[in-house]
């Protein structure tokens, strides 16, 4: 298959002529212990076809039973998306023939999803807020995993046969469907990314999904259509399937906007179809034609009884919800007094929770940010892990900062101490002891070093004597170098000024 042979218009030109309308279907895999309708483990990466029961294989005579925790997770997601929760809802069979389901139907919900009519506010990087309306969130089950064999590219085209692993078949899924999103204009690709990021964050915060996109815990199908500016009626849409990273969501929406614009400009109608996203070429290729009237012959699942909710149950679940991520961010930024830019960097670096824990453990917000954004992030980058995965605990930061605050070590030495702790040399205090890292607090050696530095830079010494106090930095630098950083810079400055008979 050759990818990316379609004509595209430049994004700016597309925006001049057309107004994009978006829509998303996001599938969230729940992290329940067992599957939606069977007691097989819901686990990733196990030996193929071992996390299966007769129910998952659709063997004759089996009876599915609903996982109660999955239903509660679905309700929590609905509540977090400000949805109404159905008083009564049913499961339905969605009939289709494809080897990813051994039953020849997917158990899903059709006319009456468990959650409907919600909305969430999506904040873009510059603070602009878009409200995305949620049409529904419904319960269903994941399909098995197909591996196409014999084709040159590993894709289905040219494959001779396929191998099926049903470990994933029956894993609980919540499908979240938006209403059409209008008015995003040129921010559409950015909004697409921010929306999927927000859903991922919400389900992770709820604790109902591991939300790891690289494992397919959160998967996005992105619908895009264009209409000329000023026109009410929507254009024909395409659905780009399985766009499975945040960056890919942004790129896929941008690409489809550009492709649609080129097709429309050439006077050809858009073909309503699914598109496949190719990360390597950052383009989409045609999938299969899709009509609104795909005939899945939905009918109520006769083996499962309705789910009925009441206010007491829903309110108990609502009361159990954690603080929503957006509100938590606002609260923390206000508490810590960070600027918008500082806070955004903290969020993007993934260290907000680490800072929160560190502040709770007793370190000031400014010092906590300095640690997590500075030395810890830098070491995490070198080790190619998330800062939170480096093994630095809030207690460690408390101890390091305590050593600095008490004057025992300075900032520069504290980095060596951190290295020592991460290398397994013991507690910060032990590393200071063993590596001999304490600052030189005895004035005698400091004065020797100061005299040496002043003698080495007589012109600077004269400037300071003449009242140019800011020049003292050069002498401090010389002293720090001479003491290999083991001096308290503040004390050194005092002593230099004293030595020169100047008032600090």
């Amino acid at each position: 298959m050759t990818a990316g042979t379609d004509e595209v218009l430049s994004f700016d030109e597309a925006m001049e002529k057309y107004d994009p309308v978006l829509g998303f279907e996001v599938h969230v895999e729940l992290n329940t212990r067992t599957k939606m309708f069977s007691s097989a483990p819901n686990a990733f990466g196990d030996v193929p076809n071992t996390n299966v029961t007769p129910v998952d294989l659709g063997l004759p005579g089996v009876l599915p039973v609903v996982n109660g925790v999955a239903v509660e997770s679905a309700i929590k997601i609905g509540l977090a998306l400000n949805c109404s929760i159905a008083e009564k809802c049913y499961f339905a069979r969605k009939n289709y023939f494809y080897p990813d389901t051994p039953k020849n139907f997917q158990t899903s919900q059709f006319e009456d999803p468990i959650a409907y009519d919600g909305s969430i506010d999506i904040e873009l990087a510059d603070g602009t807020v878009f409200t995305v309306e949620i049409e529904r969130a419904h319960m269903e089950e994941d399909a098995g995993k197909l591996t196409h064999m014999g084709g040159s590219t590993g894709r289905i085209q040219g494959a001779e046969y396929s191998l099926v692993d049903y470990n994933r078949a029956g894993v609980p899924l919540i499908e979240i469907v938006t209403k059409p999103i209008e008015g995003a204009g040129a921010r559409a690709p950015e909004l697409a990314k921010a929306y999927v990021a927000a859903i991922r964050e919400i389900v992770k915060n709820l604790g109902v999904s591991d939300a790891r996109m690289e494992r397919g815990n959160v998967r996005c199908d992105a619908n895009v259509s264009l209409r000329p500016h000023g026109r009410e009626q929507f254009g024909t849409r395409t659905e780009t399937k399985n766009v499975n990273s945040l960056r890919a969501v942004e790129h896929a929406v941008r690409y489809e906007i550009q492709r649609h614009a080129a097709v429309l400009d050439s006077g050809t109608p858009i073909l309503q179809e699914t598109r496949h996203w190719h990360e390597d070429t950052r383009s989409t290729t045609s999938g299969r034609p899709k009509s609104d009237a795909d005939d899945y012959r939905y009918f109520p699942e006769p083996d499962l009884v309705p789910v009925v909710t009441d206010e007491a149950w829903i309110e108990a679940l609502r009361a159990s919800l954690p603080e929503p991520p957006a509100e938590r961010r606002k609260r923390l930024q206000a508490d810590w007094g960070y600027s918008d830019a500082e806070f955004r960097d903290v969020v993007n670096a993934g260290v907000m929770t680490s800072i929160e824990d560190t502040v709770a453990a007793g370190v000031g917000a400014v010092a906590a940010r300095k640690w997590w954004m500075g030395e810890i992030s830098r070491r995490a980058k070198l080790a190619d892990v998330e800062p939170s995965e480096l093994g630095v605990t809030p207690e460690l930061v408390v101890e390091l900062q305590g050593l600095i605050d008490s004057g025992k070590i300075n900032d520069k030495l504290s980095r060596d101490v951190l290295d020592g702790v991460l290398a397994g040399e013991g507690t910060p205090a032990e590393v200071v002891e063993q590596r001999g890292l304490a600052v030189v607090s005895d004035d005698g050696p400091l004065l020797d070093a100061i005299d040496g530095a002043l003698a080495a830079q007589p012109d600077v010494a004269d400037k300071i004597r003449g009242g140019k106090i800011q020049a003292v930095g050069a002498i401090v630098g010389g002293v720090m170098k001479a003491t290999r950083g083991q001096a308290d810079a503040g004390r050194v400055r005092e002593l230099i000024l004293q030595r020169l008979g100047v008032e600090g």
Partner: protein, 98 residues
Amino acid sequence: MAELNRDDVAHLARLAHIDMTDDELDRMAGELAVIVDSVRSISEVAGDDVPATSHPIPLSNVFREDVVGTTLTNEEALLGAPDNADGRFRVPAILDGE
């Protein structure tokens, strides 16, 4: 309810992946129409105040604890498969799916 005609039956047969001859389609259209008619007689009794039901027993919220139970082994899982390879079910490459 609309009449069930021969085209409907042909459409259903296609959806169900069942090959049917012209004779079979003719016969089935007649037979299914009788069944649809009998079912329709229920809607003459049940008025708008009777909600459609999917289940004859008035049960709801039959849930399972989220506790892992017994699973099949890989060998057991593949026992009924016409073909397998590499611990997985082996099926013909099918092009019209997702």
